[in-house]
Subunit: 194 residues, 2 copies
């Protein structure tokens, strides 16, 4: 798409970001065959905030819809949420998430993103994880973006089953099958549970 | 054991703490049938630091023996470590670890303690978790002490299997079966891996 006029490129950019609002400047630059700086100037001209701000804005509205967790208790930012059906969250791998020696993301951060999304997607006051079968498929690295998707595959009165897959781009990084149990707040805070 | 003379109690206390150095003042008070304050005065008289300091002192020497992780990368404090055999760590549940609504420890902290111990117990430069089957048996609560034990059940050239159990007192809180893979640092840092 290099060689487009500036007006055409900005129109295409606007349309693309409406369909895929979380594409980074770097990915846009590759796609349009221009520099990242050009994309930044295009966004400025079009009044489109940077990707981090776009994600944050969506996450704030989605977090207000959560039932089982406080918004700040979700690890990552929720960008899609249909309770009892599916949810998606994003986590950018920062220095605090990686091993010093290898710059590979630590397993428990991948687990935390997936586990908190498996709980968040359920429409109940209190949701606790009971079991999980998880697999770390390939290491996530510093600077990569983890896109985590949770799908509720069965949902009964007291428990639900949630399949979670985390990707970097097309690559699967992590997958997990979670069984979660739903509880009434009184039974849990009272100190007794199943 | 209430009604012992102070001298007898202090001698018994000293012996007990040599065998079980991580018993809390509260547990000691229950055991000897005296107040926590009495135990504190006994410790002062005997020059025994509080349990938090005793754990820290042991953890510092154990962490120096780690190979796959930096000492600060272990979640919890390692109090026993026999590489390729077994390890034990302790994590006290603090406000930062629990759900706001229920004061129950969040699953990913239990996972992080277990997963990092499963990696720490292996004697290799780079160890990554490949799969885990985990079970949250009963909720851990604010103020409780999580004692996590990892046992290496099979150990081959490229991978190992580690069984992890976390208890509060006698109760099992969490259990997990981890498969970890061992790698050479060059292959991982070079950006390729199996």
């Amino acid at each position: 798409m290099a060689g487009m006029s500036k007006r055409d490129r900005q129109a295409a950019l606007m349309q693309l970001l409406q369909e895929a609002p979380f594409v980074t400047d770097e990915e846009l630059a590759n796609q349009f065959g221009v520099s990242i700086q050009t994309i930044r100037l295009d966004r400025l001209a079009l009044g489109i905030p940077e990707v981090r701000e776009r994600i944050k804005a969506v996450a704030e509205t989605k977090q207000a819809e959560l039932r089982s967790l406080e918004g700040t208790e979700v690890i990552g930012q929720i960008i899609e949420l249909n309770l009892n059906e599916r949810a998606i969250s994003i986590l950018d791998i920062e220095p605090v998430h990686v091993f010093a020696k290898t710059q590979i993301v630590r397993g428990h951060h991948l687990f935390a993103q997936a586990n908190s999304l498996a709980v968040a997607v359920i429409d109940a006051d209190v949701v606790l994880t009971r079991t999980a079968k998880i697999r770390f498929v390939r290491p996530g690295r510093l600077g990569e973006r983890l896109v985590c998707k949770a799908v509720v595959t069965s949902n009964q009165t007291e428990r639900a089953h949630v399949e979670v897959t985390t990707r970097v781009g097309e690559d699967i990084v992590f997958s997990g099958a979670f069984t979660v149990v739903k509880m009434r707040l009184e039974t849990v805070v009272g100190g007794r549970e199943a």
